[in-house]
C-alpha cells in the first residue's frame, strides 16, 4: 500500500471538477489540481487577488509581473478571463458564487470542521489570508490533505486541536489514502488507495468510518507518484 503523492491527490480532486464549474484553488496542493482537469472539460479558476479565468504558469518570455496568482507566482489569463478588484473577488467567494473551493488542511473533524490557517507557532506571526473567506463562501468545500501527520498520527479527528478556520463546512476529503465524504450521518469512505482496507484506514482515522456501497479503488496515474512527478520539473 503506497500513499498518494501530492500530485496524485491533486489529480484525484481534479477528476471531480465538473464542466462549467467556477473553482477556487487554495495555495499549495490544491493549486496543482489545475493541471489535471480532464482534457476537453472547461473549468474556470478564480484567484482571490482578482483573476477570474486563471491559466497555467507562463512560458518563458510570456511572464508579466502584474499578473500573479494567490500564491504570488507569475501566472496567465485564459482566453475569456477577466480581472476584478478585491471587493468583487471576495464577493464571489463570500456570496456563494463559486461552485467549489479546493483547500488544504492541517486537520478536519468528523463533522467537517476545518483547521487550515494557523499551527500556533509562537515564533511567527499568524496569517489568515483568504482562508476563512474561502471556507465559508464557496457552495462546496473540498479538502486535499495528507491522511496522517509526520508522526503517523491522524489528522482527521473527532475534534480539531488547532484553531478552526470554519465549523462544519467540509463536504469531501481527498487524502493521501482515501476519498471520504462528510455526511450528516458521518464519514463515508468512497474510494481507497490500492491495497488499503477499511480496518487499516480506520486505525489511522479518529472518527468512525462507514464504507460506501461499491467503495472503489483510487486509480491515480503512477507517473504522478513521488518523487517522479517532482523530477519532471513541475514547479508550482
Amino acid at each position: 500500500m503506497t500513499p498518494l503523492s501530492r500530485f496524485q491527490i491533486a489529480w484525484r480532486a481534479a477528476q471531480d471538477l465538473p464542466e462549467g464549474a467556477y473553482v477556487n484553488l487554495g495555495i499549495g496542493m490544491p493549486t496543482l489540481a489545475a493541471r489535471y482537469v480532464p482534457a476537453g472539460r472547461e473549468v474556470i479558476f478564480h484567484s482571490e487577488n482578482g483573476v477570474l479565468g486563471l491559466g497555467p504558469a507562463p512560458q518563458p518570455g510570456e511572464e508579466d509581473e502584474d499578473l500573479i496568482d494567490a500564491g504570488k507566482n507569475l501566472t496567465t489569463l485564459v482566453r475569456g478571463g477577466c480581472y476584478v478588484h478585491h471587493a468583487d473577488a471576495f464577493l464571489m467567494i463570500r456570496g456563494g458564487h463559486l461552485d467549489i473551493s479546493l483547500l488544504g488542511a492541517f486537520e478536519v473533524s468528523g463533522t467537517g470542521d476545518l483547521a487550515n490557517w494557523t499551527t500556533e507557532d509562537p515564533n511567527f506571526p499568524p496569517g489568515v489570508g483568504g482562508a476563512m473567506d474561502l471556507a465559508v463562501g464557496a457552495r462546496q468545500i473540498r479538502v486535499l490533505m495528507d491522511h496522517v501527520d509526520k508522526k503517523g498520527k491522524p489528522r482527521i479527528l473527532n475534534r480539531c486541536a488547532l484553531p478552526l478556520t470554519a465549523a462544519g463546512v467540509v463536504r469531501r476529503i481527498y487524502s493521501s489514502l482515501a476519498v471520504i465524504d462528510v455526511t450528516p450521518e458521518g464519514l463515508v469512505v468512497v474510494e481507497m488507495v490500492p491495497g488499503m482496507d477499511i480496518d487499516r484506514l480506520q486505525a489511522l482515522t479518529e472518527p468512525k468510518l462507514m464504507l460506501a456501497p461499491g467503495c472503489g479503488v483510487i486509480a491515480a496515474p503512477a507517473e504522478l507518484g513521488a518523487p517522479a512527478a517532482k523530477a519532471a520539473g513541475q514547479a508550482a
Binding site: N49, G50, V51, D64, H86, P125, G130, M132, A167
Partner: protein
C-alpha cells in the same frame, strides 16, 4: 482648470500627519505604490497605522517604513509573504501591533466606509478565534459577525493610467485593492505609470472615477531605485 497632477512627489505626501491611518493597496509585490511609500519614508510621519494585505517585503517601501520605526500598527490578512523580515523583527520586538483580519473582510470594511455604511454582518470568521470579542447575530439560522467600517486618513494608490481629473485604470492583477482603497480614504494620492490627456481614457472602462482622487504623481514604469525590480529597468534603459 482642474489638475490633480503634482510634479514633486515630496509635495504630494507632505501633509501626511503622525498617527495617520494609511491604506496601502497591493497583493504580494503587485499593485503597490512603492514610489509613494518611499516618499512617505522620506517625509517623516510616524506612529502610523498601515492597512494592507501583506506587511512589506525586503527593505523598500512598507518594509523600509517599518525598519525606520514609523509604523505603530499593521492591519493585514497575511504578514508572512516573501521576505517579510522587517515586519517579523518589529513583531518579535513587540514594537509593532498586528490586527489580523480575513482578506475579504479588509476589503469589505474599506468598501463599507467608502459607501457611508456603519458596518456589516459577515459569516467569515464566525465561531473562530478571529471573531472573539465581536458582536454576533444569527440571521435566518446562520451565524454572522459584526464588522466595522475601516476608513483611511490617506490612501497610497498605484494606477496604470490617469488623467488630470483623476480618472484611473489599473493593469491586470495590479488592480487588487487599489480601487477600494482609493474610495475609502479622506485623502487619496495616486502614483501612475503614465498620464494621458483628458478624454483619452474610454469612459466605459474607467475603473476609478476622478471623484475619489485628490493628487496624482506620474512616476514612470520603473520601480524605485532600492526595489529589487529596479535593476531590470536600469539595464533595459542602458
Amino acid at each position: 482648470m482642474i489638475n490633480k497632477q503634482i510634479d514633486d512627489i515630496r509635495e504630494a505626501v507632505n501633509d501626511i500627519r503622525d498617527g495617520a491611518v494609511v491604506l496601502v493597496p497591493g497583493f504580494g509585490a503587485v499593485g503597490i505604490a512603492d514610489h509613494l511609500l518611499e516618499a512617505l519614508c522620506d517625509q517623516g510621519a510616524t506612529d502610523l497605522t498601515i492597512v494592507a494585505n501583506n506587511a512589506g517585503n525586503d527593505e523598500h517601501g512598507l518594509a523600509r517604513l517599518i525598519n525606520l520605526g514609523r509604523v505603530r500598527k499593521v492591519i493585514c490578512s497575511y504578514p508572512r509573504s516573501g521576505d517579510y523580515s522587517a515586519f517579523l523583527n518589529a513583531y518579535r520586538a513587540k514594537t509593532l501591533e498586528l490586527e489580523l483580519v480575513p482578506q475579504g473582510t479588509i476589503s469589505e470594511r474599506m468598501r463599507c466606509a467608502a459607501a457611508g455604511l456603519g458596518g456589516f454582518f459577515s459569516p467569515v470568521s464566525a465561531g473562530t478565534r478571529l471573531a472573539e470579542g465581536k458582536e454576533t447575530r444569527e440571521i435566518d439560522g446562520k451565524l454572522y459577525v459584526f464588522e466595522k467600517p475601516l476608513r483611511g486618513d490617506v490612501a497610497l494608490v498605484k494606477a496604470w493610467r490617469a488623467d488630470r481629473w483623476g480618472n484611473l485604470t489599473y493593469r491586470k492583477s495590479a488592480r487588487n485593492f487599489n480601487p477600494i482603497c482609493a474610495q475609502a480614504a479622506d485623502l487619496t494620492i495616486v502614483e501612475t505609470a503614465a498620464m494621458v490627456e483628458l478624454g483619452a481614457l474610454d469612459p466605459e472602462t474607467v475603473m476609478t472615477p476622478g471623484i475619489f482622487v485628490d493628487r496624482i504623481v506620474a512616476v514612470g514604469e520603473a520601480p524605485p531605485k532600492n526595489h529589487p525590480g529596479y535593476a531590470k529597468f536600469a539595464g533595459a534603459a542602458a
